[in-house]
Assembly symmetry: C2
Homo-oligomer: 353 residues x 2
Amino acid sequence: MSLRSTAMPAPELRVEVLRGGTVESFHRGSVAVMDADGAVRWQAGDIHRPIFPRSAVKLLQALPLVASGAADAFGLSDEQLALACASHGGEPAHVAAAADVLAKCGLDTLTLECGAHWPGHDAAARALARQQQEPTALHNNCSGKHAGFVCLGACLAQAGGHDPRGFLSGYVQAQHPVMREVSAALARCTDSPLADAPVGTDGCSIPTYALPLRALALGFARAGTGVGLSPTDAHAAHRLRQAVARHPFMVAGSGRFDSRVMEHFGERVFCKVGAEGVYCAALPELGLGVALKMDDGNTARAAEVLMAALLQAWVQRDEADAQLLQTLAEPVLRNWNGTEVGRLRLAPGTRFN
Amino acid sequence: MSLRSTAMPAPELRVEVLRGGTVESFHRGSVAVMDADGAVRWQAGDIHRPIFPRSAVKLLQALPLVASGAADAFGLSDEQLALACASHGGEPAHVAAAADVLAKCGLDTLTLECGAHWPGHDAAARALARQQQEPTALHNNCSGKHAGFVCLGACLAQAGGHDPRGFLSGYVQAQHPVMREVSAALARCTDSPLADAPVGTDGCSIPTYALPLRALALGFARAGTGVGLSPTDAHAAHRLRQAVARHPFMVAGSGRFDSRVMEHFGERVFCKVGAEGVYCAALPELGLGVALKMDDGNTARAAEVLMAALLQAWVQRDEADAQLLQTLAEPVLRNWNGTEVGRLRLAPGTRFN
């Protein structure tokens, strides 16, 4: 299937940072909203420039874990499937779930090749320091995804009669059988031959391929509907989305955007943040996929606000939806004394239709 | 003196974030370079839009501390004068110096109205947590500036025969005598009547006034040369710059841009970062002031890179200068395994003359 484009490119969107009543800073972003047949249903900015999706495509990267049968072979729980799609805060429940995936595969933390960093969740990081501990690869925000890769690798090793530890060594490399499975899933969902895509190394050491927003949005329209996917992939995508909807804490953590949105919307919305101002979402009830990128790479206060505004425009139905999305679309900024000093908002006058 | 503007506005500058060989994100910024007579010597982007200078003007805000005689009356050291101009990382030496300023004035931490936050220096924050401690207002990156305000207030209270604690209550408010002195210094250095300026509340609860980059750059050209300032202000500015040049660690901290630059350049460069992608600098040997703002408010990887590139273009003289500035102008980005994944740089083809 080839991607069809609408005739008129729309101007980029702006997220404003207000201090008092004055715009102090602003962020520019582009958005593609696609259906699963490859039609652009809405767009803003540049949806053709290849951008690195980073962690926003973890759902697509986790498809082989389920589709291969590895998740069932090793008895992964729904929490652990949700964690495979996560950029988590390194809170104790995240760390324990990742460790348990490895244990179920007969492996341990030493297998992980994502590197260690302090938990993104501040209180979890401080608690670790207070306990005189140092972070391990389990605290890496990608440890659930990597535990999923290890589980997939353990399954492939078993099938080939290999020792799993030896087989898994270097699993983050593009040509390793694990990463080839992962990249192939991304390629077929997005209709993108990755051989031609610009490639970089992600924060967790796996390759990241730059794809246009319209291709990423197509991938999420397909993952949300199953349309255009093989029955195996469609089933895997549905099972992963269900797992995240049931355990939204596992995909991000306390107070985090993705967890809050999916706690509220359940299977009506699957959304996933990526580093450098990227967001992808599936809106199954509308049959649409969404992908956005902020030019400057700002995630926490720009990509999130834009995603919340898109959900207001496209998904919001009732007062409860409106209440949650308003707090996410126009967050109040406070200083160290708790005084309100400003807020974030989409630039006034932005129209979604 | 009125500000003269050159005829042709120049396009904004771009700082690029590369992953592999691909531009992943980019930041747009504006720059004004002025002399002390009010002539624009170089510009890029919009130098007329009012922007909040935030912490970038701490040098100007500290002038009354010295000019009033308060710093001498209470025996502040050069380290402590440098700290009055600082956005420090809350490392132990910063915290101790701020506490000592208060003690010299017969006051304590309770006088500070900046609010508490965890040290910006990660290792210092973790050390605090390991010691089972919580941060106080002394750890606030602005505690040195606020200790300076308190010292100024204690001096004013003494002169007026007031109890210093009572007198200082509410010193962060715009109409308090302390803040009026501080704002008046900013206004006269920048030739800007603040009554007309958009006002917001800063992170540390004092008012912040939005001024055009050209006015801010003029203020720093004056602070670097003394031209256009009263003899008292000129002397105070020189003494503060000297103090920072002698104790650059106090103005920022371990590994920080401002400390590294001033450790190397001494009095040849005074530079000071502000929140939301602002930088101001005085280049006394050239008689110039610099002010820049990134549209998106990114400081650490955009404003710093742009400031380093400006120093390369305007200040760099020898191999040692070049070596330091190259590491600051094109920092390497590494992932959690220490692998080089990209770098920052000013967009190729940018010209400064």
